[in-house]
C-alpha cells in the first residue's frame, strides 16, 4: 500500500470531489429555492465554502497537516479524540452510502430504468474497495489520468448547449429575495463544500507540503467555479421552471445536444463524468473511514476493514431512505446542518487545542504518515 500523492494529484482529487456528485445535482438543489437566481445562490455557496475551508486549512496547517485522526487525539485528549474519530468514521461511511445511493437513484430514474439498483451499487462499491486496497496512491493516479478528460468532456458538452442559451431565462436578477437565495445557497454549501473536510485525512500524505493550502483552496475554487458555470448555463438554457422539476438538470440539458444527427445522446458522456466523480468521492470517504479504523485499531494496515466497510456502505445506502423523494428532501433540509455540526465540533476541539498549545508538541509523537 502506497499512500503518497503529489500536490497536482491532490488538486485533481479536490476538483473531482467537488464537481463529482454535485455536477448533476447542484442546479436542481439551488434552483428549487431560488429559481432563476440559482447561480447567485451558487456563488454565495462557493464563497461560504471557501471561507469555511480557509479556516479549516489554517487550523490543519497549525497541526502540520498531520492525519486528522491523530490531530483530534492530540488536541482533545484520548477520550474526546477517540469519540471524535468514531464520529468522523461514521460521517465518512454515511456520506459514502449517500453517494452510492445517489448514483443508483440516478441510474434507475434516468439512464436504465429497467435494471436493478443493486447492480450499480455493488459495482461502484467493488471499484472503490478495489482502489482502496491499493492505497491512496492508486486513486491519485487514476484520478490524475481521467480528470483532465472529464473536465474536457464536461466543458465541451457544456459549450455545445450554449446555442440555446437565453438571457431572458435569468432575468430579472434578485427576483426571489435574499431569503430564498440563501436557502438555495444553504443546500449546496454542505454538499460538497463542507463534506470536503474529510480530505483532512488525505492531506498528510501529500509529498511536498509547501503551498499545500493554496493548492487545496485553488482546487475548491476551480470546482466551485465549474459548478457556478453549470448552474448558470443550466438555468439559462432550460429556464428555472424546468430545472426546478428535474432531479438531474445537467443530464437533461445534455439530452438536447444534437450535432448533425450523429452525436445523439451525448448525455451518456456526462453520465460517465459523473460516475467517475462519484467513484472518487466514495474512494475518499472509504479511505478516510478505513484510515480512521486503522488508527483506532493501531494495526499496520487497513485491509481487514475493507470487507465490512464495503458491506456497511452497501447496507446503509439502501436502508437510510425508503425512496428517492425522501432522500432528496432529506439532503435538501438537513445535510448542510448535519455536516456543519461535525465541522463546528472539530473546529472547536482543534481551536481549543491550539489555545492550549497542543499543536506544538505534535513533533514528539510518532509520525504516522509513513504507513
Amino acid at each position: 500500500m502506497n499512500h503518497t500523492i503529489n500536490r497536482w494529484q491532490l488538486v485533481l482529487i479536490v476538483i473531482s470531489f467537488i464537481m463529482g456528485s454535485s455536477l448533476l445535482m447542484a442546479p436542481n438543489l439551488t434552483a428549487f429555492f431560488s429559481g432563476q437566481d440559482a447561480w447567485i445562490s451558487m456563488i454565495i455557496a462557493v464563497i461560504i465554502g471557501l471561507i469555511l475551508n480557509v479556516t479549516w486549512i489554517m487550523i490543519l496547517k497549525r497541526y502540520q497537516f498531520r492525519s486528522i485522526f491523530r490531530i483530534t487525539e492530540v488536541a482533545g485528549g484520548k477520550v474526546v479524540g477517540t469519540i471524535l474519530n468514531i464520529l468522523i468514521i461514521f460521517f465518512a461511511l454515511h456520506l459514502a452510502s449517500y453517494v452510492v445511493r445517489n448514483l443508483s437513484n440516478f441510474m434507475i430514474s434516468n439512464v436504465i430504468p429497467e435494471s436493478s439498483p443493486w447492480t450499480f451499487q455493488i459495482m461502484i462499491i467493488l471499484l472503490a474497495v478495489y482502489s482502496c486496497f491499493y492505497g491512496l496512491n492508486n486513486i491519485g493516479r487514476v484520478n490524475e489520468f481521467l480528470t483532465p478528460f472529464m473536465i474536457l468532456f464536461f466543458i465541451c458538452s457544456l459549450a455545445l448547449t450554449t446555442n440555446q442559451f437565453r438571457f431572458s431565462h435569468l432575468q430579472p436578477f434578485f427576483e426571489q429575495g435574499m431569503l430564498r437565495i440563501s436557502q438555495g445557497a444553504y443546500t449546496t454549501t454542505g454538499f460538497p463544500f463542507i463534506e470536503i473536510i474529510l480530505l483532512g485525512s488525505v492531506l498528510t500524505y501529500v509529498k511536498n507540503k509547501n503551498k499545500l493550502s493554496k493548492n487545496y483552496l485553488a482546487g475548491i475554487l476551480f470546482g466551485g467555479s465549474a459548478l457556478i458555470l453549470t448552474v448558470f448555463i443550466a438555468v439559462g438554457v432550460e429556464g428555472a421552471y424546468m430545472v426546478k422539476r428535474q432531479s438531474y438538470p445537467t443530464y437533461e440539458l445534455m439530452r438536447d445536444i444534437s450535432i448533425i444527427n450523429i452525436f445523439e445522446r451525448v448525455e451518456v458522456i456526462i453520465g460517465v463524468v459523473w460516475i467517475f466523480g462519484i467513484l472518487v468521492k466514495i474512494v475518499i470517504c472509504l479511505f478516510t473511514a478505513l484510515k480512521g479504523l486503522q488508527h483506532l485499531s493501531k494495526f499496520p494496515n487497513y485491509h481487514p476493514f475493507l470487507l465490512p466497510a464495503g458491506l456497511l456502505i452497501w447496507a446503509l445506502s439502501n436502508h437510510i431512505h425508503t425512496n428517492s423523494m425522501e432522500f432528496t428532501d432529506f439532503v435538501g433540509r438537513n445535510w448542510t446542518l448535519w455536516w456543519f455540526s461535525l465541522y463546528l465540533v472539530l473546529l472547536v476541539v482543534l481551536g481549543i487545542g491550539i489555545l492550549r498549545k497542543k499543536d506544538k508538541n505534535l513533533d514528539q509523537t510518532a509520525d504516522d504518515s509513513s504507513q
Binding site: G140, L146, V268
Partner: protein
C-alpha cells in the same frame, strides 16, 4: 507488499541435484577416470580418451558436439604428446603448459569444478600423479545463423534478430553500443538445468535501484528448470496475476540496444532468441522500434492507430453487444433498421452470437499457429468459409457480427508485442459478459476497474502506467506521440542545421 507476493511464488525445489564438492581429484589417473565415468554414466556423447602408454599418462574428457574437435586434436593432444616424447624429464605439473590454446586454463581440485564445465563444453585433462584436473574452454556448437526476426517484423530497420546462443547475442549488442560501460553480468538459474542468463545494462545510464532489484530477484530465484525467458518473466514478476506483461520481450537487437541506452535492464537468456526488457511501461507496448526510423508525424499517427486498435480489440464485440441489446437509441435510426433487418431470423441473442464467433476465431487462430505447414491452406480455406459467408448464409449469425469479429481479430494483430495483445484477448471475453448483463455502463465500470488495475501495477518497482499517471510532462515527447527527435535527443541539431 510486492515482496510478500514474490516470496510466496518461489516454491521449494523438491529434487536437488547431487553435489560433488566433497569428491577430490585423486592423483591416480584410473580412479579419476572411473569416478567420472560413474558420474556421467554410459552416454554415447561422453568421450573419455585415455593415453596410458605415454611417459606421463593422461586422460581427456569432453562431450562430443559441444567442443571443437579439430582444435582439441591440434592444439592440445598433439603438443602434449610431442613434448612428452621429446623431453623425457618433464614433470607432470609442467605438462599442462605445453598445450597451445589461447583460452584460460583453470585448475580443478574437485569434481564439482569438473562436471559443470564439461557439461558446458570444456575439455578436462587428468594427468597421472596430479591431484588436480584442468579445464580448457573449447566450446563450439552448431548454431543457427543470424536471421530476420519472425515474430517482430518491420518494413524499415535492421534485419538481424537475436538467436539462441548468448555469445552471438552479446556480439549483436556490442556492435550497436560501443560503450565501455556496457556490462553483461552472468547468473546461473535452475537447479537441474543450470541455465546461464545475462543481466545486461549500461553502467552509466542504468537506474541503480532497478538494477539491484533485478539482481536480487534473479539471484534469489529458486527453481529447478527454466527454458525460456517467458518462464523467467513469470517467476520474477511482481504482479503475477495480472494479464498485462510487465516485461517487454523482444528478439530485435536494435530494440534491446535502445532500451539499454535509455537506462533499462535487459535480461538475456541462453537458448532463446527473446530477451526481456525491464522496467517497462504500459505505453511502451504501443511503441515499435520502427517508430524511430520513420518520420515523426507518420510514427505518431501509427501510434495513435495502435492505441485505437487496442481499444477495438478489447471492446468492440462488447460494444456491439451492449448497443444492440440495451442502447439501441445510440445508433442512428437508419443503421438500426438495417441491423434489425439483418438480425431477423438469427436464432441467438447478440451475446451468444458474438461469443460463438469469437471462440471460433480463437480456435482458427490457434490452429493456424500449431498446424503443420502443408495443411495450412486447408485450414485457411475452411476458416474463411466458417467465419465468413457460410455462417451468415446458414442463418447462424448476422453479417454485422462477422464484420465486428474480423475487425477485432485484425486489430489484435496490430500490437508490436504478442504478449500484450493476449491481455486484450482475454479481457475481451470478460468485457463481453459484462456488456451482455449490464450494458454500456457495465463496460464503463470495467474500464475504470481496468484503469485502477493498471495504475496499481509496477514493473521492477517503477509505476507501470508511468508517463500518463503519474503524469510526467517531460516524457510526453515520446509516449503516446513520437515528437521530433530533435526535441528530445540532441540540442546540437539546431546549431548544426544553421551552420549549413
Amino acid at each position: 507488499m510486492s515482496q510478500q507476493f514474490f516470496k510466496r511464488k518461489r516454491h521449494d525445489s523438491t529434487s536437488s541435484t547431487e553435489n560433488y564438492d566433497h569428491l577430490h581429484v585423486s592423483s591416480d589417473l584410473k580412479t579419476n577416470v572411473k569416478e567420472i565415468k560413474n558420474i556421467l554414466g554410459e552416454s554415447i556423447d561422453v568421450k573419455i580418451v585415455e593415453f596410458l602408454e605415454m611417459p606421463i599418462p593422461f586422460a581427456i574428457c569432453y562431450i562430443e558436439g559441444l567442443i571443437n574437435k579439430q582444435q582439441l586434436e591440434l592444439s592440445i593432444i598433439e603438443p602434449i604428446k610431442r613434448t612428452q616424447l621429446e623431453n623425457k624429464k618433464l614433470q607432470p605439473k609442467d605438462l599442462i603448459h605445453q598445450t597451445e590454446v589461447s583460452a584460460m586454463i583453470s585448475p580443478c581440485p574437485h569434481f564439482d569444478l569438473i562436471i559443470t564445465p564439461v557439461l558446458k563444453g570444456q575439455v578436462i585433462i587428468f594427468v597421472d600423479g596430479m591431484s588436480e584436473a584442468y579445464s580448457i574452454p573449447l566450446e563450439t556448437w552448431e548454431t543457427r545463423g543470424v536471421e530476420e526476426p519472425e515474430a517482430q517484423t518491420m518494413v524499415r530497420g535492421p534485419r538481424e534478430g537475436f538467436i539462441e546462443t548468448l555469445q552471438t547475442n552479446t556480439t549483436l549488442l556490442r556492435r550497436r553500443i560501443s560503450n565501455p560501460t556496457l556490462r553483461f553480468k552472468p547468473f546461473e538459474v535452475g537447479k537441474i538445468t543450470k541455465t546461464t542468463i545475462l543481466v545486461s545494462y549500461l553502467e552509466s545510464q542504468v537506474d541503480q535501484e532497478v538494477l539491484q532489484e533485478v539482481i536480487k530477484r534473479v539471484s534469489n530465484l529458486n527453481t529447478d528448470k527454466i527454458f525460456e525467458s517467458g518462464m523467467l518473466e513469470e517467476l520474477i514478476d511482481e504482479n503475477g496475476y495480472s494479464p498485462f506483461p510487465t516485461f517487454q520481450s523482444t528478439e530485435r537487437p536494435d530494440v534491446a540496444a535502445a532500451a539499454l541506452s535509455e537506462g533499462n535492464v535487459v535480461i538475456m537468456f541462453e537458448g532463446t532468441p527473446f530477451v526481456l526488457i525491464t522496467p517497462t511501461t504500459f505505453i511502451s507496448f504501443f511503441q515499435a522500434a520502427e517508430d524511430y526510423y520513420h518520420h515523426f508525424d507518420l510514427s505518431s499517427f501509427i501510434r495513435v492507430i495502435r492505441v485505437i486498435s487496442f481499444m477495438i480489440s478489447l471492446a468492440l464485440p462488447a460494444a456491439y453487444i451492449a448497443v444492440t441489446t440495451f442502447h439501441q437509441e445510440l445508433i442512428p435510426t437508419n443503421l438500426l433498421v438495417s441491423l434489425a433487418a439483418q438480425r431477423e431470423g438469427v436464432p441467438f441473442p447478440a451475446f451468444v452470437e458474438a461469443l460463438v464467433m469469437e471462440t471460433i476465431f480463437e480456435i482458427l487462430r490457434e490452429a493456424g499457429i500449431r498446424m503443420p505447414r502443408p495443411i495450412g491452406s486447408a485450414v485457411s480455406i475452411v476458416g474463411a468459409i466458417v467465419i465468413g459467408e457460410s455462417a451468415v448464409a446458414a442463418g447462424l449469425v448476422s453479417p454485422a457480427i462477422v464484420i465486428v469479429v474480423s475487425l477485432t481479430a485484425i486489430s489484435s494483430f496490430v500490437s508490436p508485442y504478442y504478449g500484450f495483445s493476449g491481455a486484450a484477448r482475454l479481457l475481451r471475453f470478460v468485457l463481453m459478459i459484462l456488456a451482455a448483463t449490464t450494458g454500456i455502463f457495465g463496460m464503463i465500470f470495467f474500464m475504470i476497474g481496468l484503469l485502477i488495475h493498471l495504475c496499481s501495477l509496477t514493473s521492477m518497482g517503477k509505476p507501470y502506467f508511468s508517463p500518463l499517471a503519474p503524469f510526467q510532462s517531460g516524457k510526453q515527447k515520446d509516449s503516446l506521440f513520437r515528437l521530433p527527435l530533435w526535441w528530445t535527443q540532441t540540442k546540437l541539431h539546431r546549431k548544426w542545421v544553421k551552420k549549413l
